[in-house]
């Protein structure tokens, strides 16, 4: 009895391992999913928003590949072979294209570094500034101000 239970458990485990990768492979993509990831190459807008003749041809091509069971990656690769990398809404993340991903992050970090570096200095300078409460009036201006105020008092 124990032996039978052990065999059943082993078989269940084996089936579970066999089923896991199969489930991952059979994940299918759809026309809409791909449309959101690529461009209409003749109109320069995302394919999902395009309706030109060329866009319709591009959509029909994608639909054929989806129906054939190609994965999203395979479909993108075939679109690049047909239209070049410009068809991708986001450029591939290797080679010089890495700049497109790194540059915005680097710019933000640089801006934060500049602010972190300069902000304390500006604060210190402001505190140390002798005329922080406003510039002192000259004797002539002071006399004129007194005269004006006296006129208002009257």
């Amino acid at each position: 009895m124990r032996r039978a239970a052990g065999i059943v458990a082993a078989l269940s485990l084996a089936l579970a391992f066999a089923a896991a990768p199969a489930g991952a492979v059979t994940q299918r993509t759809s026309l809409v999913t791909i449309e959101q990831q690529v461009m209409c190459v003749t109109c320069g807008i995302p394919l999902v928003e395009a309706d030109s003749v060329a866009a319709q041809r591009e959509k029909a091509f994608i639909q054929r590949l989806v129906d054939r069971g190609d994965s999203a990656g395979e479909i993108r690769a075939q679109l690049v072979a047909q239209y070049g990398v410009a068809v991708l809404a986001l450029p591939p993340d290797h080679g010089f294209n890495v700049v497109f991903y790194v540059a915005p992050v680097a710019a933000v970090l640089l801006a934060l570094a500049v602010v972190a570096l300069l902000l304390p200095r500006w604060r210190r300078n402001r505190r140390a500034s002798p005329g922080a409460g406003g510039a002192a009036l000259s004797a002539a201006d002071s006399a004129r101000l007194d005269a004006d105020l006296a006129r208002f008092d009257d």
């Binding site: 047909q82 239209y83 410009a86």
Partner: protein, 186 residues
């Protein structure tokens, strides 16, 4: 000095952003350098004549560049299967090819632009086009000619200099005949 550093950095950064925007905007439009040179009475060299482009039928992974036809008159026709006016002018272009082949003066070279290869091959078959066709997969070859709308045609002389440009559909066979003759003599 330090007080001026902060605003200075901001001004430099703003100027850099504006410069990038201006550069981006100026790069948007198609170049008309070839048209301007022709209008000035010059025959500018055709761009990218040594660049290898894949043949449409891709037999054996074949590639070719315009330099392959140096010494002949070349009618360079940019087209795509999704372009309705390309369909309309295809008979005139094929007629020009037959004239050039008969005289031995040159050839038409079709450049299929931003198109699916299967659709393009079907276009060639259904319109019985007998001239060689190359693929400009990402449109960068066409961009060198200032082409951003189809169809467009360039007549090149034997030295691969541009003699005439048609930006738009060719509707008169006489236009092609005239400029092919001029290119053969140039």
């Amino acid at each position: 000095m330090r007080r001026k550093l902060g605003p200075g950095i901001v001004i430099v950064a703003a100027a850099a952003v504006i410069a990038v925007l201006v550069y981006g905007l100026t790069q948007q439009g198609a170049s008309r350098a070839l048209d301007e040179a022709l209008a000035a009475g010059r025959h500018p060299a055709a761009p990218q004549t040594t660049r290898l482009l894949p043949a449409l039928d891709r037999a054996g992974g074949a590639q070719a560049s315009l330099a392959h036809w140096r010494g002949k008159v070349v009618v360079l026709n940019f087209w795509a299967s999704w372009c309705s006016t390309c369909t309309a002018e295809s008979a005139l272009i094929e007629h020009a090819e037959r004239q050039l082949a008969a005289s031995g003066d040159g050839t038409v070279v079709g450049i299929d632009y931003k198109d699916l290869s299967g659709d393009a091959q079907q276009f060639v078959a259904s319109h019985s086009l007998s001239y060689p066709n190359l693929r400009d997969i990402d449109g960068s070859f066409a961009a060198a000619y200032g082409t951003d709308a189809l169809p467009e045609t360039f007549v090149l002389n034997r030295r691969l200099q541009v003699v005439a440009i048609s930006r738009g559909e060719i509707t008169q066979q006489s236009w092609l005949t005239h400029w092919i003759d001029a290119a053969a003599r140039a």
